[in-house]
């Protein structure tokens, strides 16, 4: 679900085909019948944006029919935990949980806590609540006194235990309701639910694969959470053949969250510090991590990171240069940054391998924003649209931009490709794989590593004489990497070694367990610690599969500590025996008094299954021997999330920001906590129940093609790729074509409140009309690969979307909006804006 794996991950999909060959049942649930559906055992169409209803229906099906893996649920999840008396569910408050603050447009989560648990001030803190990531990413929160929750009921009967709350929350997600909301048939839904239940338990496991079809919604995080609930109830986590696989958008996207390009986290998912609170390092640690579970060692990770940054200059006396770290004072995500450019508060911008003029929601707004910068640095393989907008943006044609009046100075710098540099890719399974430089970069092309390294050297040279305290962090940065080759490329190997970390004697550490809070160790990213163990670049190992065990531990290196399946202690029962011989993976060996198995155990190796922590135990010592989810404060899989999400402890079906349907389950239409960024360039379509909604009767969703890659810079420029998907098009059903007079192969104009774009028409049965809430629903699907540059050019699908974001991670909702569609090409010039303005939309005066 939420993934078109055959088309977007064709190389990985070979293993799905391999599984099918061995008898696995492959189910594809998607608004479009894609190349993945064609190869699946069964396909179920659903309306774009209705995923929580479908998955919530599965949760209800499991609970109503007693299909949960009871022993797993009781011991390994927080199902038995009793929740605060003050907690109110969406069932009680018609779509809200308790704690909603209408004025601040956000939740206070104090009533979502475990009963009898002390609520830490930190989680309620104004600043940290700015974004879910500050308390999210594995829930650094939940300050349990020791690992175990204060009150629980192992019989799962207590009315306030998580299990009963869950049952009640999803009780209305019946097969009939699922069919009504999603547009599939009740039979199709039940076939999927039954297949999942039949293929889960002691002897069998099932896996979910998802991609941005789940994330790009105002409820994206919660969709994935629903799948996590399903998998925990069925016992499919931490076990071979189970899990939830997040298929990434492109190479090393996993790596760029681990060692982040995000504004609010540091390497290894450590939150960024906030500007408002004048904190010491100790206060920061106290505020940002639970004392129990592996986050209980945040001090060691953080001090080691500062030692990697500032080396000998970071000492206990100066708080390890903690004050040198930049602070955030609000939401600085990509969309806020674009609004800042329009406002004039963001004056300069670096773009590395990103093309917002095509790839970001409301790409039109991004072009207008970049046209208001003072300077822009674009490093890419070709002149992408984000570098060329000043001379070829569609807004020049409408007269909204004039080249002569654009102040932006664009520096387009040629980048080296992956074959022209050494480095690592981290894939979706957290696997680091090294790639070796095949050739030196041509001409002026340079690696990103070269650029950043030499840029810092040059800035430091300019600042050498400065005594301004604000320059100290840069001047005190430990910035010595050996360089290689004729271009003086910094050694990527040396960078990886720093990421992995070293001990007091300068020897490479083998695991994050060796990191210390006293300043004796350095480590650039604690979760990657050990990737250079034994002074060997572990990620460069390429021992063929035939020459090692089926888990293939010597192919690359997986974080953490080369564990191929996370939380794999869950593959054994509470006493440490495998749940089944068939699914044996990691188990407790009595004689050796250790955890052993096919994989590196994701558990303290010598902690016996019967271990019970003492009161006051900290970090991993606070986690019982039968609690596999060691990153959580209580070592359990969280069916209910007391802290870490800003929009609720249970996933709930909400309609997209723009929908032709009203929410049939609750009075609250859409996720109340969603971010809505309004700008005169980005009004929303009226949604169901608002005047003017009828003007946008169709559901609009985006998709990707095998033939092109993301915003197209690497593929529309290649003749052999451009010719096999040569033009921007839209997919519509024969019914929609008939309703709007669209001809296959002809042109259509797609309209939203933002703009209108033209595309070729592909009439296909693959985009089936659905019946939703008793009404026929027609959908329009558009690939988002096109822009003004390259061999194959076309209009950008992302121009059509507004800025409604998931509140936890600021991801745009481009997988379910509304639109109108008309036959023929769009009007040119000023007439385009007149067409768009003739449609109903909200008047946004602000900004």
């Amino acid at each position: 679900m939420g993934s078109n794996m055959a088309e977007c991950h064709p190389v990985g999909f070979q293993w799905v085909m391999e599984a099918k060959l061995r008898g696995a049942k492959i189910v594809h649930v998607d608004p479009r019948f894609t190349r993945t559906s064609a190869l699946a055992s069964s396909y179920v169409p659903i309306r774009a944006g209705s995923d929580i209803a479908f998955l919530g229906g599965i949760v209800n099906h499991i609970l109503e029919n007693g299909r949960e893996f009871r022993d797993y649920v009781v011991n390994y999840t927080n199902a038995p935990v009793i929740i605060n008396e003050g907690f109110k569910d969406t069932e009680d408050l018609d779509g809200f949980f308790s704690g909603w603050n209408e004025e601040k447009n956000r939740y206070d989560n104090s009533t979502w806590q475990y009963a009898g648990m002390r609520v830490r001030g930190a989680v309620q803190d104004e600043e940290t609540a700015l974004s879910g990531e500050a308390v999210g990413y594995g829930g650094h929160g939940a300050g349990l006194e020791h690992g175990e929750p204060p009150e629980e009921d192992p019989t799962l009967e207590h009315p306030r235990c998580v299990f009963q709350l869950l049952k009640r929350h999803y009780s209305r997600y019946t097969p009939e309701r699922v069919a009504e909301i999603c547009g599939c048939s009740k039979e199709q839904f039940l076939e999927v639910a039954e297949a999942l239940c039949d293929n889960s338990g002691r002897e069998r496991t099932s896996a979910f694969c998802y991609a941005v079809g789940w994330t790009q919604h105002t409820i994206g995080v919660q969709i994935i959470r629903t799948a996590a609930i399903v998998q925990l109830l069925l016992g499919n986590m931490g076990r071979t053949g189970g899990g939830i696989m997040a298929l990434r958008g492109h190479t090393s996207i996993q790596g760029s969250t681990d060692i982040p390009t995000l504004f609010n986290i540091l390497p290894g998912y450590i939150p960024m510090a906030h500007a408002h609170a004048k904190q010491t390092l100790a206060e920061f640690v106290e505020m940002n991590a639970s004392p129990t579970g592996w986050w209980g060692r945040l001090d060691a990770y953080m001090v080691s990171l500062l030692k990697a940054y500032f080396g000998a200059r970071a000492t206990a006396e100066n708080d390890f240069c903690f004050d040198y770290l930049p602070r955030i004072d609000g939401d600085h995500s990509t969309y806020q940054a674009a609004l800042g450019m329009l406002e004039g508060s963001v004056k300069g911008f670096f773009l590395f391998g990103e093309n917002p003029a095509v790839g970001s929601a409301n790409s039109r707004l991004h072009r207008m924003a970049m046209a208001n910068l003072e300077w822009l640095v674009v490093r890419d393989l070709v002149e992408i649209e984000s570098a060329s907008f000043w001379h070829d943006a569609p807004e020049l044609e409408t007269g909204e931009l004039r080249t002569a009046e654009i102040p932006t100075e664009v520096f387009l710098l040629p980048a080296a490709s992956h074959v022209e540099k050494n480095g690592s890719f981290t894939n979706t399974q957290r696997l680091l794989q090294w790639h070796f430089k095949a050739v030196e970069p041509a001409g002026d092309c340079r690696s990103d590593l070269w650029f950043v390294y030499h840029l810092a050297l040059r800035i430091r040279e300019k600042l050498a004489a400065s005594d301004d305290p604000r320059d100290r962090p840069l001047l005190d940065l430990e910035w010595h990497y050996p360089t290689e080759g004729p271009l003086e490329d910094p050694s990527a190997d040396a960078v990886l070694r720093e990421i992995s970390g070293w001990d007091a004697d300068g020897r490479a550490v083998s695991s994050f367990a060796e990191l210390k809070p006293d300043g004796s160790t350095a480590c650039g990213c604690w979760i990657y610690s050990g990737c250079y163990a034994g002074e060997v670049n572990q990620s460069a190992r390429k021992r063929p599969g035939q020459e090692q065990s089926w888990v293939a531990p010597e192919w690359g290196w997986a974080w953490p500590s080369n564990r191929r399946i996370l939380y794999n202690r869950a593959s054994a029962d509470p006493s440490g025996k495998p749940w089944s011989e068939r699914k044996k993976y990691v188990w407790w060996d009595e004689q050796q008094a250790r955890w052993v198995g096919h994989d590196a155990p994701d558990f303290t190796a010598d902690k016996p299954p019967g271990y019970v922590p003492q009161t006051g135990a900290k970090a991993d010592e606070a986690i019982r021997g039968d609690r596999p989810f060691i990153m959580q404060a209580d070592g359990r899989g969280w069916l209910f999330v007391p802290s870490g999400l800003v929009d609720g402890p249970f996933p709930t079906h909400f309609e997209p920001q723009e929908s032709p349907f009203q929410n049939p389950l609750y009075g609250q239409q859409s996720n109340p906590a969603r971010q809505q960024l309004r700008h005169r360039l980005s009004p929303f379509n009226p949604t169901a129940g608002e005047p003017g909604a009828d003007a946008y009767p169709y559901v609009l969703t985006t998709f990707r093609l095998t033939e092109h890659h993301t915003a197209g810079g690497m593929t529309r420029t290649v003749p052999f790729l451009a010719e096999i998907q040569p033009e921007m098009f839209c997919e519509v059903s024969p019914a929609l074509a008939a309703e709007r007079g669209l001809e296959n192969g002809g042109w259509a104009t797609i309209v939203t409140a933002r703009t209108a774009i033209e595309a070729r028409v592909l009439v296909t049965d693959r985009l089936a009309p659905l019946v939703v809430q008793g009404r026929p629903l027609l959908q329009v699907a558009v690939p988002w690969h096109w822009g003004t540059r390259g061999l194959s050019t076309g209009e950008s699908a992302n121009d059509l979307f507004g800025l409604a974001l998931d509140p936890n991670v600021q991801i745009q909702e481009v997988r379910g909006a509304t639109c109108d569609i008309r036959p023929g090409r769009r009007p040119r010039g000023r007439a385009l804006r007149e067409l768009v303005e003739s449609y109903p939309h909200e008047q946004v005066h602000a900004r």
Partner: protein, 297 residues
């Protein structure tokens, strides 16, 4: 008795593999299993990259995801996309009632290859691997091979088919082109580019005997799994072209994929035709002779 015979009038045909003496190799080919094809077109792209086949136009076809259209001088692999409604008449409509067939087509490297038979210059030849290859430096562009192919595989490379590149630096303009089964790669012990690029092993490369065995096992397995319509196309040496060197597992009738159901090498009757022509000529000559002789009397 050899698998191949070539027509050389007036001589006893010297046939593969004997013609290669000690250099002969096992006959190599493709087994394209369309039941696992995901339509990624990596084969098309890898083929063009390796063989320097030019891009031939940025035209949106509106035919499902097939913007290549057919095999030609400039497309040596072609992935067909066939969208089929599977709903039984009268049943209630549902979005899942659909089948999307995908199949990567290629030169069949026929046992009896008409293109090779009709080539007057010897540009087309059979390699030591039993494959059929055109040599552009020998080809005179007569185009006889084009209509001879029962599958429409081979084509002549024309400037007007290459709008984007203008034909300036394109190799082999005016001559015919088709899949070589990556003859150059085979010579170096490598597999063809398309087979190497295929992520799901839909395109399998190997000695033809082995491929035929493997294909039969695959069909049997699919039949066991209830895919009754799975069938092999072109694996039988008894068909009209003596069997394909590159054969297929299809999930529907060949014509659904745009393939001839019963391909016949058009030169199959060439000996009879030539024989008949010879007899007719002889008879004519005889009657003329008789007339002249009679007239002179």
């Amino acid at each position: 008795m050899s698998a191949f015979t070539t027509l050389e009038l007036g001589k006893t045909p010297l046939s593969w593999p004997e013609s290669y003496g000690g250099e002969q190799q096992p006959r190599m080919g493709f087994f394209t299993d369309t039941s696992v094809c995901i339509g990624c077109k990596a084969c098309e792209v890898a083929c063009k990259e390796w063989n320097e086949v030019p891009e031939d136009g940025l035209h949106f076809s509106g035919e499902s995801f097939d913007n290549t259209g057919s095999l030609s001088a400039n497309s040596w692999r072609h992935v067909a996309f066939i969208e089929q409604p599977t709903r039984v008449d009268g049943a209630e409509a549902s979005g899942g009632d659909l089948r999307w067939l995908m199949s990567s087509d290629v030169c069949k490297h026929c046992t009896h290859a008409a293109c090779l038979d009709v080539c007057p210059t010897g540009a087309l030849f059979r390699t030591e691997f039993g494959t059929v290859v055109v040599q552009q430096d020998v080809c005179n562009g007569c185009g006889y091979c084009v209509p001879a192919c029962p599958f429409g595989v081979i084509g002549r490379r024309e400037v007007e088919d290459l709008p984007e590149v203008g034909g300036e630096d394109v190799l082999g303009l005016g001559t015919t082109h088709k899949c070589t089964l990556c003859y150059d790669r085979l010579k170096d012990g490598m597999e063809p580019a398309c087979a190497q690029a295929c992520p799901t092993e839909s395109i399998q490369f190997g000695p033809l005997d082995e491929l035929r065995e493997r294909a039969q096992e695959r069909v049997d397995l699919l039949h066991e799994q209830g895919v009754a319509e799975a069938d092999l196309y072109g694996e039988s040496p008894d068909d009209g072209v003596g069997g394909f060197g590159a054969f297929f597992l299809l999930l529907d009738k060949p014509e659904v994929y745009g393939l001839p159901p019963d391909p016949i090498v058009p030169t199959r009757r060439l000996p009879e035709i030539w024989g008949a022509a010879f007899l007719a000529g002889a008879a004519l000559a005889g009657s003329v002779l008789a007339a002249v002789a009679g007239g002179s009397q």
